[in-house]
């Protein structure tokens, strides 16, 4: 029964080769996309899922993985009742508004001005505004820390020379730390929003402006009645990015205001609070819970932003 008929076996050999070949061809695409998925699962999906798991446990990492203890939603309750969490939320929302709103209020008209006034050298001007965005936040923070220095900083020297103002401890006094940090964040991200709005302005049909000009519209009315309504989709995109970015603000306040000092509480954002819970207090469970609470807040505000813009569009359409 097991004997193989050579006459039958001979034509099978190419079929088997073909099958192997076909299998290899079928497997090849999976093999090529495997690196992305492996990296995504290890560094993307797994940490995400693990942080959910972690948020339901009490865990001090120095005790090792075996020390995890199930606490259910206690970490969420703990965070929601913690005065520092409330303070961090207030600081985060403050930064979101004070840094975020002026970014757009300045970037939109500035982009329109650059778009309509500069034909030559426009790229250089936009590039100059964009430089802070691509510069390391650590470098920016260090330079501004020097500029804002109470006794040795240029800003206080100028204020004293021009206005006779006594030295202000910009980064060491809770009254001034927030505005100082907010200014730096505003300055840093203005260029980014400028580029977004400029790119949107460039695709608006020039004939619309020409037609409006023939009808006697000046630059201000062209901006108000043509540019601004047509910028709405880009505004939605840019404002969404600002909301997400500002609610996750970490680098600038963390580097500018010594986290060891008491005054750092005045600029402690929720992201910094989360970091301190994890790496200073060793409470990774609550830190994970805070990260998910922050995610929910970001999602809620993004949804509100979407509703706000959609409602405007619906009203315009009507």
């Amino acid at each position: 029964m097991r004997a193989v008929d050579p006459t039958l076996a001979a034509p099978r050999a190419p079929t088997r080769r073909r099958t192997r070949h076909q299998r290899a061809r079928e497997l090849a695409p999976y093999l090529f996309i495997a690196p992305f998925f492996v990296l995504f699962f290890v560094f993307g999906l797994f940490p995400l899922l693990f942080s959910i798991y972690l948020s339901l446990h009490q865990w001090d990492p120095t005790d090792g993985l075996a020390a995890m203890r199930w606490v259910g939603f206690e970490n969420y309750w703990f965070a929601l009742t913690d005065p520092w969490f409330h303070r961090s939320l207030w600081n985060t929302l403050w930064f979101s508004v004070v840094c975020g709103v002026p970014q757009h209020l300045v970037a939109v008209p500035l982009a329109y001005f650059i778009h309509t006034s500069f034909k030559r050298g426009r790229d250089a001007i936009v590039g100059a505004y964009f430089v802070p965005y691509i510069t390391s936040s650590v470098a920016i923070a260090l330079i501004f820390a020097t500029l804002f220095s109470k006794d040795y900083g240029v800003i206080n020297s100028v204020l004293h020379a021009v206005l006779g103002v006594d030295p202000i401890n910009w980064l060491g006094d809770a009254h001034t730390t927030k505005p100082a940090v907010a200014f730096i964040v505003f300055w840093r991200f203005l260029g980014w929003n400028l580029v977004l709005y400029l790119s949107a302005l460039q695709v608006i049909d020039k004939e619309l402006y020409e037609a409006a000009a023939l009808d006697g519209c000046g630059r201000w009315r062209q901006f108000w009645h043509i540019a601004l309504p047509l910028l709405r989709p880009m505004m939605f995109f840019a404002v969404t990015l600002t909301i997400i970015g500002n609610l996750q603000l970490f680098d600038e306040p963390f580097i500018l205001v010594d986290p060891e000092s008491g005054v750092s509480l005045s600029v402690m954002t929720t992201a910094i609070f989360m970091y301190r819970l994890a790496f200073s207090d060793g409470d990774f469970g609550t830190a994970s819970a805070v990260s998910w609470l922050l995610f929910l807040i970001i999602a809620l505000l993004t949804w509100c932003n979407s509703r706000l813009f959609n409602r405007g569009e619906t009203r315009d359409a009507a």
Partner: protein
């Protein structure tokens, strides 16, 4: 086309095999290299380990010493992650004083009080307050101290002389310290101190005896409403209101520049600050600084370094030998003192003739003798795993008192509630 695809699959498989092979080879080498002792440390403490590497090689030629040094915060974050995952743990872990309470309370480090280490037998050979810092409430010993930081008041002799103030004025009491500061500010323009918080950090340690905790008692009760905290806040506020501090937190650019340019007349810190001043903060001020006791007769310690063995360390026997070399060997401790300007935890090293040598940076003052006297008087304060967190709360409330005018009693009551809330488990 099909042939090309097949060829690519073969090449990818070959690369994978090569990578796997290389990894296997590396793993094999790692297994073979049980004779490598990995020491994770941070600057400047790493210089002590590097200085001892020759002695180690002589004593243990078969065990290669590998010193891995990261920046101070990165090192402790990396060690926290390593303890959490059980991966990437060194054989010997250096731990700074600020983290020792948390690490000692964790279950990730070997109990050096237990056999085969029996580390508590070494206790009498060390500064009396150093061992309790590394012990957990159950009596376990998480680490052995390498260096300590007896607290001292460093001051600019030239500045106080210009202001007509004496050393006794600075140290007699906290009130006289502040009065002296007013004269210094008025006559020289220099600040008395870099940050009013420095006063707070010392005064909260006043009146402590052996076994007392700073923020918690033995039963975990929060102590931040005690009179020493009230006094600490009052004195700190008085200094700020009189404009005596530069408002510059330690280790910031403002702080180093203030010390370098002679705009700050005094600095309370561990004796090891002298080395930092000499080496990089204010080398040009050599001979102008002096060292004395802390105001108000307080004896306190600032910082200190320890060596521990993770439970999952691969080479525990060699790790213990290394720790003994670094902490109990007289010559190594004295060498560390010379290399780092650190203050040895080992009592025998404190009796080395080197202690009688004048310190040029301090105008020839033989200040190590003074620091030795201070170290002998520092109480053995009990540490708590939440000390670091409580420190953050007190700092934040103190800032509210200074900038928002929050009443001290209310600030301390809020701090107590916050600390109890966080230390709930």
């Amino acid at each position: 086309m099909a042939r090309i695809s097949f060829a690519l699959v073969v090449i990818a498989a070959a690369l994978g095999w090569i990578a796997t092979g290389a990894h296997a080879q590396q793993a094999s080498q790692d297994r073979h290299a049980t004779s490598t002792l990995v020491v994770a440390t941070f600057p400047d403490l790493d210089r002590a380990a590097k200085a001892a590497s020759a002695s180690w090689a002589r004593l243990h030629p078969d065990i290669t010493l590998k010193i891995v040094s990261l920046q101070y915060p990165d090192h402790h974050t990396a060690m926290t992650a390593a303890l959490a995952t059980g991966s990437g743990l060194p054989d010997v872990m250096a731990v700074d004083f600020r983290f020792i309470g948390k690490f000692a309370a964790s279950g990730g480090l070997e109990d050096l009080a237990a056999p085969p280490y029996n580390g508590l037998a070494l206790r009498d050979r060390f500064a009396r307050y150093s061992f309790p810092q590394a012990m957990n409430p159950k009596g376990g010993l998480a680490a052995i101290p390498a260096d300590i930081g007896p607290g001292t008041l460093l001051y600019r002799k030239d500045i106080i002389e210009r202001a007509g103030v004496t050393e006794a004025d600075l140290t007699r009491s906290w009130e006289s310290f502040i009065e002296a500061g007013k004269k210094i500010r008025a006559k020289t323009g220099a600040y008395l101190l870099a940050n009013a918080a420095d006063i707070r950090d010392i005064v909260i340690r006043s009146g402590l005896a052996d076994g007392d905790g700073i923020y918690f008692d033995a039963n975990g009760k929060v102590l931040v409403q005690s009179p020493r905290f009230v006094k600490a806040f009052e004195l700190g506020r008085a200094a700020r209101q009189a404009g005596l501090d530069a408002g510059a937190p330690a280790w910031t650019n403002e702080w180093t520049t203030g010390l370098r340019q002679g705009r700050v007349a005094t600095q309370m810190m561990g004796s090891w600050l002298t080395g930092h001043l000499k080496n990089w903060i204010a080398p040009a001020s050599s001979g102008l600084w002096r060292s004395t006791v802390l105001p108000g007769g307080i004896n306190a310690s600032y910082g200190g370094s320890f060596y521990a063995i993770p439970k999952q360390a691969a080479n525990k026997a060699a790790a213990w030998q290394f720790i003994q070399l670094m902490t109990t060997d007289l010559q190594t401790q004295v060498n560390s003192l010379r290399v780092l300007d650190s203050f040895p935890a080992l009592l025998a090293a404190q009796n080395d003739p080197f202690f009688d040598e004048p310190i040029e940076y301090l105008g020839g003052q033989p200040a190590r003798r003074l620091w030795r006297e201070i170290a002998a008087k520092v109480p053995a304060i009990a540490v708590n795993k939440y000390d670091s967190m409580a420190t953050d709360m007190i700092r934040a409330e103190f800032e509210e008192v200074l900038t928002e005018g929050k009443p001290i009693a209310k600030a301390l009551a809020d701090a107590k509630l916050l600390i109890e809330h966080r230390a709930r488990r």
